[in-house]
Amino acid sequence: MARIIDRRFDSKGKSTVNRQRFMRRFKHQIRKAVSEAIHGRSIRDLDNGEQVSIPARDLSEPILHQGRGGIWEQVFTGNDQFVGGDLIKRPSGGGGGGGGGKGEAGNEGEHEDDFVFQLSREEFLDLFFEDLELPRLIRTQLACITDYKTRRAGFTSDGVPANINVVRSLRGALGRRLALGSPYNARLRELQQELEQALAEEGEDSANVLALRDQIGRVRAKIDNIPFIDSFDLRYNNRVKVPQPTTQAVMFCLMDVSGSMDEDRKATAKRFFMLLHLFLTRTYEHIEVVFIRHHTVAQETDEEEFFHSRESGGTVVSSALVLMRDIIHERYANGQWNIYGAQASDGDNWQNDCAVSRDLLTQDILPACQYFAYIEITDGDPQNLWQEYETVRASRNNFAMQRIQSPADIYPVFRELFKKSLS
């Protein structure tokens, strides 16, 4: 007799470990593919996994086998034209195998197609953020619980009158009345029975009947004395305060669009903003992005305009910082937002403005921000803004700055900026 076993509900994902091993082993190649993939993505396009392809030769498992050459004599099927001794012209490209068939499947087994597979969204993002961590994130999570939400939590027996739950209270009162009254009610029914009996046997005016009536009157009085509602019955709606971790963030993208910022530099800046956004998505449920571009005046724009419209003129960095400060006060000041700032510039600023910018940063913006990162996209020496910001970096630990020369520098810089720091 055969055993039939239903294995369908056995633990699934037996291959999970092997898949993870595979991912780990080819992390290098996979990561490269992932980095390339973001070229084509918008800042906010994060909710997809990624198709990753790895050159098949990188993950081949070598074995010893016979190569082409030498003598191969093989049997094929479906002869439709040959007789013994026929000569066939050697098919081009194939070392062995007559008649166009793939006769030596065994030794031509290496095909050079790429090995393509789908990374899940989680795996995709993990690859980006492994060993990166939002600066001071842990501290934020532990300490920055700024918001409470009240939530129903059943009923209590004390509270303020406004919170009395009428239905609950009356239900309790009814139960209490029934419970306390039941012995009297039983006694009352007994007495009434006796009374009827006495009436039938002895008539209306006998002493027994009178005594019974008297007793009945006293029991009724006792029942009536049970209070309709007692303070004991009162129930109050209970509400508790639940700390609400802040799960939303706003990210300010500040970019210099003055004449000296050319398309290449903007593209580099875009990559930087993209990565920051991606990283924030990982940590916060809801993210808003504010785009501020500036030359001598600052302006809030949408993403399209932010990256693609052309401006020219001089540079006054403080205009953007002022706008950022105002927007924070206006929209994000209620303590429910984690604020991140990212500024990209070629570092060229109007000389008199540098000190103003520094003061704005240190006094207004940095205290409100979780983190503020500045990148200077330049091939030359540090510009005046850089020098000014260096003093800020010295005094603040939620401020970081880096110089980038080409798009290739972005990723390492990003890692540098947000390197695990649990300071």
């Binding site: 076993i5 699934k12 595979f22 010893l64 050459g69 030498g70 007789v83 013994g84 068939g101 006769g103």
Partner: protein, 520 residues
Amino acid sequence: MKRATHPRHKPAPVPLPVTSEWSFDSIEQYHTEIARVAKDYGLDTYPVQIEIITAEQMMDAYASVGMPVNYHHWSFGKQFISTEKSYRRGQMGLAYEIVINSDPCIAYLMEENTLTMQGLVIAHAAYGHNSFFKGNYLFRTWTNADAIIDYLVFARHYISQCEERYGEEEVELLLDSCHALMNLGVDRYKRPGKLSVAQEKLRQQERAEYLQSQVNDLWRTLPAQELRDDDRSRRPRFPAEPEENLLYFIEKNAPLLEPWQREVVRIVRKVAQYFFPQRQTQVMNEGWATYWHYTLLNTLYDEGLLADSFMLEFLQSHTNVVAQPPYNSRWYNGLNPYALGFAMWRDIRRICEEPDEEDRRWFPEIAGSDWRETFDFAMRNFKDESFIAQYLSPKVMRDFRLFAVLDDDREDNLKVSAIHDESGFQRVRQILSEQYNLGNREPNIQVWNVDLRGDRSLTLRHQQHQRRPLGESTEEVMKHVARLWGFAVRLETVDEAGEARLIHEARVERPARQAGVELA
């Protein structure tokens, strides 16, 4: 709809359920009937264990080379990912069956399949393959059906312990190297010892110590005084006889391996050995299983137990399985082992039952004999190579229109050396038989020498067959050999004339702290 569960006790046969949805009851009924018919035909099988699994679990099973348990390795993950990908895209249906050569014989049924397919799989896997596993001499001598699952559990456990102690990376590198040599890790002629978990565990500690002492012996053969160079040729080689099983040789003799590393090499070697018979009996085994599902189900149909609709669906899959496209078709991918095997088994029965004059000439000893006995003998005592050499009949060659093509790289043209005619039958048969000879298909590489008194380098010899060179991944494999051996490894190739020439040398880059060990 519930039907009688024991139709055979009824006087008139009660047809089996015909719905396409299966249920446990109906699978049980089908199994009961198939088992009864198989017994009538005298199929000797291990007890059957049928397991219902999902498509995902089927992919899991695929990924771990069909075994229900296996150790962890990235290559299985790669296999899983590519199977999953092609399945999701619909490029590939999953095979409807995986059957495990174990006692009891485990056959997987996929829940997505129709009842007809389940019936087909039960007949094919649980009775066809099962009886082959139990009967064929290769499986009988080289695998231990009752111990393989336990052994794999042991292997998995042992390897994960090693991972904990020595780190995943370390173990993975070792496994990579072993996998590269897996095909060269089998005893082709020597009979392997029995596997048993209890023994394995018990002996493992002992073996570890013993092996280490053996290796030390190898160290002790260092001479007291330096021999002069001209003595070199007179020194005995080590090993005295060339060794074909590279993994075995490495396990026993590699000087620098730790005991646990030797154990891992051994595990890979044992697993390779377990699968070795399967690689040598494809045509026979698949043909046998196909023949039996065809015969068993047709018998049930003749008894009136199977509905016409069942037969139509079954025949449709059956014909797909045994389809053989001709050489010039774009679907051609070599000979289909199912088709060839099925045709040969059918033909053997025909020769037994209705031999014609040609058959009497070619097969005097089986023409007209009892087909069940002939089948049993053929199934038990042959592998693909010898099976074809013995039983491929002119009729099958004609039906398949087989022809042989000679491709000599010294000639400008390919030559049709033989076709399915009177003068060519013998030749075609011989070539086809050699084509299934693993010894010809895989390069012949043996351990030739270890330079015991010099740099401890290992020399492998490749005996060329038909002047065929080694493939392009040889260099990679040699690096793996060198990693396992721990010293330089040389590969020589011996051509037809018997001339040996060095074609590859892999050196070992050793970290500085071990520099003193390196004598080269």
